[in-house]
């Protein structure tokens, strides 16, 4: 085990896969010479050269279109969209082309590609550089959606995404880039579609993603210590495929479900999980399902406003206390 930052785990995951497979190539804006605006891809250009690690113009449609064309003809591209907000300018390629081509061609076209992108709040960048948009992607059939919370998961899930035969949208939470954590040495590959139970308690189940996982863990510790409420915390890790077995089984044990989401309220991923739980383990529930989300507003930039918009440890604690009575 080595201690790596979340940011270094990105480069480690990409390097592992590029070393293993000559067909893995990496492209994006400022990713090669500059090593990424978040410095998550430093060293890749030196290691693999400009043929495989390529700087692109500010042309998100061209970047993802090129990744798609390369993927359908034998390469396994990793494309970076600098900020997940920018997915909106190339959403046609994601939602209409990449996600649908296999289905529309009845399986003729395979698109083994990964779109990496920096997602979410915490950096005071405002509504066009700090959104959490994982729920946009979840709404489109044909694309897998992954969002790691820990450096080890960054490396392992990124490797799994590169090896996956289907397109994967890989959301890195930008405020987690400096976070350190143990990462297995050597070749490390995780599995898409598996949630992780990080903590178990008898009173309620918290389901969270990316940076909300860390807030949920902190909230669970406070709830237990100060209020005697024991929480299970699940890191969903992958929205598509979704590990409903783990979620349903843990909610059945505690009888209560809280989702903690950074995406704005309407049609956030927690709504889908709430619906599945309500349909499939309603009789195990002891009380209403509660979603803790960003309100349905564009994200403000000032630190005070941003901190009070996205779910905080305090809000998770107070919501759970209030709801649990």
């Amino acid at each position: 085990m080595a201690e790596l930052t979340y940011r270094d785990a990105v480069a480690a995951g990409i390097a592992q896969e590029m070393t293993r497979d000559e067909n893995v190539v990496f492209l994006g804006e400022d990713v090669a010479g500059a090593g990424g605006v978040f410095k998550a891809t430093v060293g890749l250009l030196d290691k693999f050269g400009p043929r495989r690690v390529r700087d692109c113009p500010i042309s998100e449609q061209a970047i993802l279109g090129a990744a798609m064309g390369a993927a359908m003809t034998g390469l396994r591209p990793i494309a970076e969209i600098m900020f997940s907000d920018f997915l909106a300018v190339c959403w046609d390629i994601v939602a209409n082309e990449i996600a649908k081509s296999r289905y529309m061609t009845n399986g003729q076209i395979s698109l083994p590609l990964v779109i990496r992108t920096a997602n979410g709040a915490g950096s005071r960048f405002g509504a066009q550089h700090s959104q959490a948009v994982e729920n946009w992607a979840m709404a489109i059939p044909g694309i897998k959606v992954v969002a790691p919370a820990f450096p080890a998961d960054v490396k392992g899930l990124l490797a799994a995404a590169v090896r996956d035969p289907d397109p994967v949208l890989f959301f890195e939470q930008k405020s987690l880039y400096p976070m350190k954590g143990e990462v297995p040495d050597g070749e490390y590959v995780d599995e898409l579609g598996k949630a992780k139970v990080l903590r178990q308690g008898k009173d309620c189940t918290i389901v969270a993603l990316a940076s909300m996982v860390h807030k949920s863990i902190d909230a669970a510790a406070l709830l237990e210590k100060e209020h005697g409420i024991a929480c299970t915390v699940i890191d969903v890790r992958s929205l598509v495929p979704l590990d409903t077995q783990t979620i349903l089984s843990e909610v059945s044990k505690t009888g209560r479900l809280f989702t903690v989401e950074e995406n704005p309220r309407l049609c956030g991923w927690g709504a889908e999980i709430a619906s599945i739980v309500a349909e499939e383990c309603f009789w195990d529930l002891d009380g209403p399902i509660t979603r803790i989300t960003t309100p349905h507003v564009p994200l403000p930039s000032a630190d005070l406003l941003e901190d009070n918009t996205i779910p905080s440890v305090d809000r998770i604690v107070s919501t759970i206390r209030r709801t649990m009575g």
Binding site: A71, M104, I109
Partner: protein, 341 residues
Amino acid sequence: MDTNVKRKKSTPAEIEIGRETRLELYRLQLELRYCEKRAFDLFLQNLIKGTSHLSLGQEAIAAAFGVAMRPDDYTFCTYRGHAHTLARGASMEGVLGELMGRQCGLLGGKGGSMHLTDVKKGAMGSYAIIGAHLPVAAGAAWSAQYRGTQQAAVCFFGDGTTNIGAFHEALNFSVVWKLPVIFVCENNLYMEYTPISAVTAVEHPAADRASAYGLPSIVVDGNDADAMYQVASEALSKARAGGGPSLIEAMTYRHSGHSRADPAKYRPEGELEKWLLRDPVITYRERLLKHGFNEPTLKDIEAEAMKKVDAATATAKASPLPSVDDIEKNVWADGGAAWRN
């Protein structure tokens, strides 16, 4: 040739076109013509549903590239893509079957008229969002360059595409990366219902933008299969030799409306008639006669082409409908549609 169609800087080199190639160009144009006409008839019989965008009048472009390309080259086309897909050798019953929503369709009824694809023939898809496939074609060209295969990617699109961002992104990207990709603008004078000249800053929507990307400005008579074949061959050679992308504007005209729903009433009186005099199939036949081919040879080709279309129609009509079990198949590489465990 219509004197209104200007050839700019890059007049194609006079590549010798052999007799076999000429016959092949005629045969392919005829097949495309007959098949598109058949598609129109099948619409009128309500055997083809949805929409459809025919290439009637524009066949020379797809045919010329179809003949000039290598079997392992890649084609990307638009929702007006029946001709381009057939020109790569996709099965005609597969095309008509797809239009009719039958099991024998190229896409098993999943895609329809606007998404014809036959990967085994290098027909890498028909794309129904304007501009989307230009960067995708660039990506396939990048892959060919990376793998060192000397394959080229050819990307067909209409004049309307030149006003969308992806056109400009793809051109710049392809030139900077020196990709073996050929962008072919079929300028049929109308974006959909609106004349392209009414909404475009320059006279030649593709060729006049070429200089912005350091490319030669190429305008060619898209109704002349020989001229198209020469331009195509030249661009393919350039791509294979590492010379980078080409942008070709082929002047042409669609004989029917934009889609099934469009009677094309917006066209000025006499315009269609003028272009019908330059019908690529008819004028090519006249040229072949001038070049010494005899009537019986051409009649044989015509009869064969019609036989092929008839046979494909019969096969497609006889093909069963897709199974509703197919609805949840092929979202993922494992053949299924599961998003949860």
